[in-house]
């Protein structure tokens, strides 16, 4: 049995008090028509999965180690060989090291800001905000959503993770629609490490029955009630999400895609029973049914330590090495490796573009606090799948990881390459006035 509102994905375990709708376990597997959707051209992606490593992972302690640098830069981790001769990773990533002939690495990303909420916004929309940190272009996923002409029962831009992206200094501005408004924000999905998949937009519907949900006129009246109760901008955002959610719960296939329990336990285990691991599995399921843009968020907060809000973001001013060894390294290594394996085994990697990145890197010099601070001048991004030539390393940083030695890759180039792989061409971008003048990262393609 699974439940909608707060899906329980652990099999037939009974009813939650919070559930408003129940469906039997015996639902058929996803329609073959969905799975056999026409394959895109070789260079084109059907879906993008962006793994958003919120907080800014250290490039030196992950995929651009500097073993010959002084200890105050190198850090305590050893390096290991990979499938590509001469390319070494941190010892914390043995699974990815064994698979880097299936992905490519950019070691020369650069951003324009050292502040999380600014750099994060730029990294997700491609450009600095206008009027300071205010008016941002839409997220890459919002562009995809606007131009999406595929199936309408699933939202085209879905964010899987623990919640809206936040920092102690404020929330991120280009999480969604930006200057286009909240109607283009991502549809949020939350996965726990074990049982629950939640669709926060459906909380308004608690206590409803399928019959009531299917009564569109009644639904419309209830939406009107909500609009009257809430201020307009809030309610319009919610009503947009609500309507998408409605389409989901009244579509059997839509409901099925969020049921992680229909995966076998071995597959779930390969991703790891962590929030990030199960979110990556959810992303694969969404890509499988043709959702064009899925952003998986590592954490809600950037902060590594943040009282009862701690969800161990990548912002490791303190405890960089402790948490890299205990948590961040092993979880990312396992989940991303499983995602690449799973996509490949299902024949989906050729049509799914996978990108993993944060908003910046971290200082090459270890700080007095024993961590690493923000570093916009050089960081990494990892690329795999549709249209990407595997086994390449684009750019390179200097001997201490301070700056790119060649091929600097800007957020504008990242966004341009992502949406271009989805078939959104230069003319379409110009018409929408997004990603102006953006160039592709040609070395990846």
């Amino acid at each position: 049995m699974f439940q909608i509102g707060s899906f329980r994905a652990g099999g037939c375990r009974g009813t939650s008090r919070r559930a408003f709708l129940q469906a039997s376990c015996g639902l058929p597997v996803l329609g073959s028509s969905l799975l056999s959707a026409e394959k895109p051209a070789l260079s084109q992606a059907r879906s993008v999965i962006l793994l958003w490593l919120w907080g800014g992972p250290s490039h030196l302690d992950t995929f651009d180690p500097k073993p010959a640098a002084p200890a105050t830069i190198r850090g305590p981790f050893s390096t290991i060989g990979t499938q590509i001769p001469g390319i070494r990773f941190s010892e914390l990533f043995p699974r990815l090291a064994a698979r880097n002939d299936r992905f490519s690495l950019v070691r020369s990303n650069v951003n324009h800001s050292n502040a999380h909420h600014v750099a994060g916004s730029i990294a997700l929309c491609g450009s600095p905000g206008r009027g300071g940190d205010k008016d941002y272009d839409p997220n890459f996923g919002s562009i995809v959503q606007r131009l999406h002409r595929g199936r309408q029962d699933l939202p085209p831009f879905i964010a899987v993770g623990p919640g809206h992206l936040n920092t102690a200094a404020g929330d991120i501005k280009a999480y969604g629609g930006g200057s286009w408004g909240p109607a283009f924000d991502p549809f949020p999905v939350r996965c726990s490490e074990m049982d629950d998949v939640q669709l926060p937009s459906l909380k308004l519907l608690e206590g409803q029955t399928l019959a009531r949900l299917s009564d569109r006129s009644r639904l419309q009246r209830e939406l009107e009630n909500i609009r009257r109760m809430e201020n307009h901008s809030y309610s319009s955002q919610w009503s947009n999400h609500f309507q998408r959610a409605h389409r989901l719960v009244t579509s059997e296939e839509g409901r099925q895609v969020f049921d992680l329990a229909s995966e076998d336990s071995q597959t779930r285990g390969r991703y790891g029973h962590t929030q990030f691991g199960q979110s990556c599995l959810m992303a694969r399921r969404l890509a499988e049914v043709g959702v064009p843009y899925i952003q998986v968020n590592w954490s809600e907060y950037v902060e590594n330590i943040y009282d009862n809000r701690t969800d161990f973001g990548w912002d490791t001013h303190w405890l960089n090495f402790e948490n890299m060894a205990e948590r961040h390294g092993p979880i990312l290594d396992r989940s991303l490796s499983a995602l690449l394996d799973d996509l490949q085994q299902r024949g989906l990697l050729d049509s799914t573009l996978v990108v993993a990145m944060g908003e910046f890197g971290r200082t090459p010099s270890i700080s007095a606090n024993g961590g690493r601070n923000h570093w916009k001048r050089c960081y990494f991004s990892l690329w795999a799948g549709a249209g990407i030539q595997p086994g390449r390393v684009v750019g390179g940083s200097d001997p201490h990881g301070n700056d790119p030695l060649s091929d600097p890759v800007t957020p504008l180039m990242v966004g341009t390459t992502i949406v271009d792989q989805l078939g959104i061409n230069r003319e379409q971008r110009a018409r929408l006035r997004v990603l102006p003048g953006g160039e592709l990262i040609e070395q990846l393609l």
Partner: protein, 291 residues
């Protein structure tokens, strides 16, 4: 003949390097079953329960107590809404210590005294102190602050810096007699296990391996250390004598084995075992050759 003798020698060498425990079989006991992330198990005095950190029925990592007879789990601090980690006890059970995440890059340690009952929350000289452990004698705590090891007296509150080397120094643990501190250090390039006197003198390196050796844990008899190492490709549990002799691998699996802890009788260990992506506590007796 030479070739046969050579083969025999090779086989004997290979056997001598086999892990002490390849498959504990029936002796291996699974203690938890929820599969949620876990860390830092330690036995409570009397060995009737194990305290560890997990997200069981909580949106955040908190301390849980597993009653080994009934199998029931309960919150150690049910009223706390902060992340809690790194529990440890003094040998007589008179003191219990753990760590709380109290703010944006702020931590504190909590010392609970059982007789007379008292609770103290201590903050360090800087904001983040990590991997705190109380002395088995209950008189001081050891912790990592910005990559160096410190001791702090619980009577005088005086803080003493024990290390000042290059690289990182972390995961300190005080010996059962209170005279030595085991820790990991990257001063020689990557994390290795070291032991020093409690005043920071006479640092001795115990391990030499390409890879990460971390989280040393003193056996209750003070003769051996358990630790985690990825020297063979992923995190496994090892033990070594405090003179550096008798290095043995105790687990062997493609998934993670980590956070080892001794039973008070030194004859069995408990640790976090990741299998099929699930994290649970297990325990097993040490085979005779590993004692």
């Amino acid at each position: 003949m030479k070739s046969a003798a050579g083969s025999l020698l090779a086989i004997l060498i290979a056997i001598s390097w086999l892990p002490a425990v390849l498959d504990a079989g029936e002796a291996l006991e699974q203690l938890t079953h929820d599969g949620l992330l876990k860390r830092d198990p330690c036995y409570a005095p009397g060995a009737g329960s194990i305290v560890f950190a997990s997200r069981h029925r909580s949106p955040r990592m908190v301390l849980l107590r597993l009653d080994l007879e009934s199998g029931t789990l309960s919150r150690v601090n049910p009223d706390s809404n902060l992340v809690e980690l790194a529990p440890s006890y003094s040998a007589d059970g008179g003191f219990f210590c753990f760590q709380r995440l109290t703010g944006n890059d702020e931590t504190a340690f909590v010392i609970q005294q059982t007789e007379p009952t008292a609770v103290r929350q201590l903050t360090g000289s800087r904001k983040v102190n990590w991997n705190v452990r109380i002395s088995p004698l209950g008189n001081e705590v050891a912790y990592n602050l910005s990559g160096q090891i410190y001791l702090r007296s619980l009577k005088t509150d005086k803080e003493m810096k024990l290390t000042g080397s290059a690289g990182r120094n972390d995961w300190p643990g005080i010996s059962p007699d209170g005279k030595q501190v085991a820790f990991s250090s990257s001063r020689d390039g990557n994390y290795e296990i070291y032991v020093m006197q409690r005043d920071g003198s006479n640092e001795q390196r115990l391990t030499t391996a390409e890879g990460l050796d971390m989280r040393p844990r003193w056996s209750p008899d003070g003769k051996r250390l358990l630790f985690t190492s990825n020297r063979d490709g992923n995190y496994e549990i090892y033990q070594v004598g405090i003179d550096g002799s008798g290095l043995q691998r105790l687990t062997d699996h493609a998934e993670r084995d980590d956070y080892a802890s001794w039973h008070p009788d030194s004859g069995q260990i408990t640790w976090v075992r990741e299998r099929e992506g699930r994290f649970d506590l297990y325990r097993m007796p040490l085979p005779k050759q590993a004692r």
